[in-house]
Amino acid sequence: MTAHESFSGAAEAAAPRSEERDGLLAIILRHPFAWLIALLGLVFAILPVWGDNVQLRESLLLAAVYVTLASNLNIVLGYAGYVNFGNIVFFGLGGYVCVYLVSEWQWPLGVAALIAGILVSLLALIFGLGILRLRGAFFALATIGVNEAVKAFVANFEPWGGAAGIYLSLDVYEPLGGPGQALWIVYFLIVAVMTASLFLSYAIKRSKFGLGLLAIGENEDAAAVLGVHTPRYKALAYSASAFLPAIVGGLYFFKTGTIEPGGAFDLTRSIEAIVMVMLGGIGSVTGAALGAFLYEELRGVLLTTEAFSHFQLVIAGLLLLGIVLFAPGGLMGFVYRRWPRARRLLQ
């Protein structure tokens, strides 16, 4: 089963609707999946508050970050079929811009994070125009190159702390009501960004833009011949896929209180995002969320179980290998085959 079979069903479902005006509000009101996304966001928000369970909040926070990364990655990887190995560069840069603005210029968190998102997606647009003319493996390698170049540059960039990074002074929590409350606020913001990511990837999938991306993913040359403006679509997708990860990066590193090049531009995390998308089902919105959540839970268990902490990579690798060799459609691919009707409800 090829990667694209898992969402070709969605393309069929989208086709008859493509004439409708796809305004965001209209989408929300008409499609049940949108309600599911909203429900998920609500669950994430309420669960840890219920028991005042800080440990649960911490692990859900990580899960939400990964869902954000995975679902945005899906736009370029799942829809357009371009392997963005270096997707973590958006996360890291967003983190640095936001933390820098908060630390040096004392900007409020919300504004700093938003600016980070805008700046990084603009940068992505520029980078993208350069590297998106490369195909397949070349593109993948170029994204690694971009990530490593940015990491090496930031490590030498003194205003951003160089190799040591930036450490936030503890009074940045004061405008948010002290560290305890700040951590909760940041958590809710991250959940909001996660929900927005799911909405975004869903909305793109149902739109004409998304259809173009899917066409590029199937056969780029054919799509170009059929009138899809491939360079523009690819660049827009690459840039759009940078916006929310940059914001969530800003929030995440604000919460961590410190950012340094190794942790911000960690290639392993980048690859894990790909594993999550593949695990859940490439091209599927539910898949990205599911894959991210499951993988993150697995990681959490492995983190502290002394015997297994080293096996984290092995298990992740075996998982990925198994998926690629035997089940390229991922979990949702399996679900869709077993219960074809699910495809109409879940995306």
Partner: protein, 292 residues
Amino acid sequence: MGLALQMTGVIASIIDGVLVGAVYGLAAMGLTLIWGVMNVINLTHGAMIMLGMFALYFLTSALGLPPYGAVPVTITAGFVFGVLVYWIAVHRVIGRAHLMSLLSTFAMNMVLIGISTALFSTSPYNVPVPLPGVTWREYTFTGTHIMAAMLALLLAGLLYLLLYRTRIGKAIRAVADNRDAAELNGIPTTQVLSFAFGLGVALACVSGTLIATLFPFTVLSGGAYELKSFVVTVLGGLGNPAGALIGGVALGLIEGVTASFMPLNWTPIIEFVLFVVALILFPRGIFAFARA
């Protein structure tokens, strides 16, 4: 006086760089061979280099082999291991979308690094190789650097002989050129592919062994050399082993020059910017030689 010393210092760094570059070239040859023959980017390349490094450590400490005696052992073991990996991870994805082979080799890479981390942890290892160096004025070129470069060139020469003077080499080149035509001509292409993959991995492993004679290493060291191999492969042209060797020396030269004139921590930036620029401007390699 100061300037003369500066210049000899620069020359010393350049020579050092070229020596190391020969080893980079050897590593990259493994990568480019696999790429050229079967259009697969072997993302286990870094892990293989790392395993070659550890092989040196264990062969010298556990078995008491002299350091350079480990070289033939690593080549053989690397070859066998490479064939194994081919059958596990690569065979099924050869014809399919590029994404699949990228991910499958990458997954294999994660497994290898994960197992190695469990066995060796991420602590640094070191294999001291006492070899007298060559001193020129104030600067010394360590014996290990010289030896590593010589061995790298020797192995590159042997590879050339293999590819151009043997039947199996001819078969490899035929499959690289056009797999279907080769199949029609009676060449067992699948076996040739697995042979080529094994060869590529063997080159990666032995280059790791040579690097381990020069510097300390950890389980994660392979990654840095894998990235250098990518840079070299792009510089030299995909699928072009001769280009890879030249590209390796070129990279070593660039590192030597930047280290002399710029603060030491700028070297990685230059490398990666070069990499991205080269990819965009010269996807066929700066030298764009005719395919070997």
